[in-house]
């Protein structure tokens, strides 16, 4: 009772514009890392499935490495090491975007690999039999089907990615969580702010997971 009595939600209104900019960065980071991660991940999946052994091994090695390191460490290392290597500092936002794309690619690649393997072998033969090259067969026949089969799983991974973006807080990138923290300090009302952003995270993730459910049932009809 006393806990809620002290709750002052009036600080949320004035901080909304500031929190909004944080949310925009979080969304931007999610969208870029998702798009880049799926593209890079698809290339990694194709490399892993290719008969060219060194290529397959390199891709496997990359994926396993990324999946064995905690994301937070990748974020920190990348942020600290790149300026040492290039001699130029890189902004926390750009560093976060690149790190997330590279990291998520490993997870998306496993999904796309399963997707490619879910397409029957005969589809490759059918594409090749009408004279398509490897690239055409993949681009027009296999990948569209793999992508469609895996759409719910890809989206679920994106929900996890959206939540994980809050880790960029550690390098000071101004995302939704960081914005809430700053606003909380300004008004000396951190608890309200953290509760509010938790609510924002929840609403977005919940909406996305409903979308996944909806897609799953639609795909079930198409098949």
């Amino acid at each position: 009772m006393s806990f809620f009595a002290q709750f002052d939600l009036s600080v949320i209104g004035p901080s909304l514009p500031f929190i909004w900019t944080g949310l925009l960065f979080t969304v931007k980071l999610t969208v870029i890392a998702m798009t880049g991660g799926i593209i890079l991940g698809t290339l990694l999946a194709l490399a892993r499935l290719s008969p060219i052994t060194p290529l397959a091994m390199a891709a496997t090695w990359y994926v396993n490495l990324m999946r064995s390191i905690p994301l937070l460490m990748v974020i920190l290392w990348f942020f600290l090491i790149i300026p040492l290597l290039t001699g130029k500092p890189m902004g926390a936002e750009n560093s976060a975007i690149i790190t997330f794309t590279l990291f998520e690619a490993a997870y998306y690649s496993e999904i796309m690999r399963a997707g490619i393997q879910s397409v029957p072998r005969g589809q490759v033969w059918a594409g090749q039999a009408i004279g398509m090259t490897y690239a055409q067969t993949m681009g027009h026949i296999i990948l569209p089907q793999a992508f469609r089969n895996m759409l719910p799983v890809l989206l679920t991974q994106t929900i996890i990615l959206f939540q994980d973006t809050s880790l960029v807080y550690a390098i000071g990138a101004k995302d939704l969580l960081k914005a809430a923290e700053i606003a909380g300090k300004n008004y000396n009302r951190p608890v309200e702010m953290y509760v509010f952003v938790a609510f924002v995270y929840f609403v977005i993730c919940f909406a996305l997971s409903r979308l996944v459910k909806h897609l799953q049932s639609r795909i079930a009809i198409i098949r």
Partner: protein, 242 residues
């Protein structure tokens, strides 16, 4: 048209094809039969290079399939192939299935490809299904679309790998009728099938395979009259009795 000379193939230690040789002249229909696992699918996939082979050579219309310098996609675009499980592209409409090879491989315009595709769809009796998706068609209909898709590329010869064995009995004839018509028009065809009625009607020669060997390679009359090998006799009596 198709020359297969002393072809052998291994999967690791396991020899799938042993010293297979035969020729198919232009306009001929050759039926390939034999027990399950005898290497029929493997042999027919070697003809358009979907499977690689380690020994011997295959020449299709003057082009050597096993030669690393051969442009396989180009060769395959001229060799039609029909599969046991149809293998239509499930994410595309029937029309798109018929168009994609023509536009992406042959470089035809979309209008031209559509016109040609619809003509062939009409020919296999499925014009009304043009806008549906493969999953909405019966097996027999899907297989007829698959034949139309192969014909849309204007092939110089056609390969069929058990085109009716995944079909319900009542749909087999609608597919065989299309194939008989093709044969009568003079298409060069290599057909893996156990439909001996089809073989009797249109085949020029029948090849019998067993354990990766071509055991018998005879004219239709010879084959159905008195197969020379005991294995072929046994096989024939088994499939003709039901």
């Amino acid at each position: 048209m198709i020359e297969i000379n002393n072809v052998s193939k291994w999967y690791g230690q396991f020899q799938v094809l042993t010293d297979c040789s035969t020729q198919i002249t232009k306009g001929d229909v050759v039926v390939v039969c034999g027990p399950s696992g005898s290497g029929k699918s493997t042999l027919i996939k070697c003809v358009n290079g979907l499977e690689a082979f380690q020994q011997g050579n295959i020449v299709v219309n003057g082009t050597s399939v096993g030669d690393p310098k051969t442009n396989l996609p180009k060769l395959r675009s001229r060799v039609g192939m029909v599969f046991q499980h149809f293998e239509l592209f499930p994410h595309m409409s029937i029309t798109e299935n018929l168009v994609i090879g023509q536009t992406k491989v042959l470089g035809r315009s979309k209008e031209e490809a559509q016109e040609r595709g619809l003509k062939l769809l009409d020919r296999v009796g499925l014009k009304s299904q043009a806008d549906k998706f493969p999953g909405q068609l019966s097996g027999g209909q899907q297989q007829r679309v698959a034949i139309a898709r192969a014909l849309a590329m204007d092939p110089i010869c056609m390969l069929f790998d058990e085109p009716t064995s995944a079909l319900d009995p009542e749909m087999i004839n609608e597919v065989l009728d299309v194939m008989v018509e093709l044969a009568n028009e003079g298409m060069t065809m290599m057909v893996v099938t156990h439909e001996m009625g089809f073989a009797r009607k249109v085949a020029d020669r029948v090849i019998f395979m067993d354990h990766g060997h071509i055991v018998e390679d005879a004219t239709k009359e010879e084959f159905f009259g008195t197969p020379r090998s005991e294995r072929a006799q046994q096989f024939l009596s088994k499939i003709l009795s039901h």
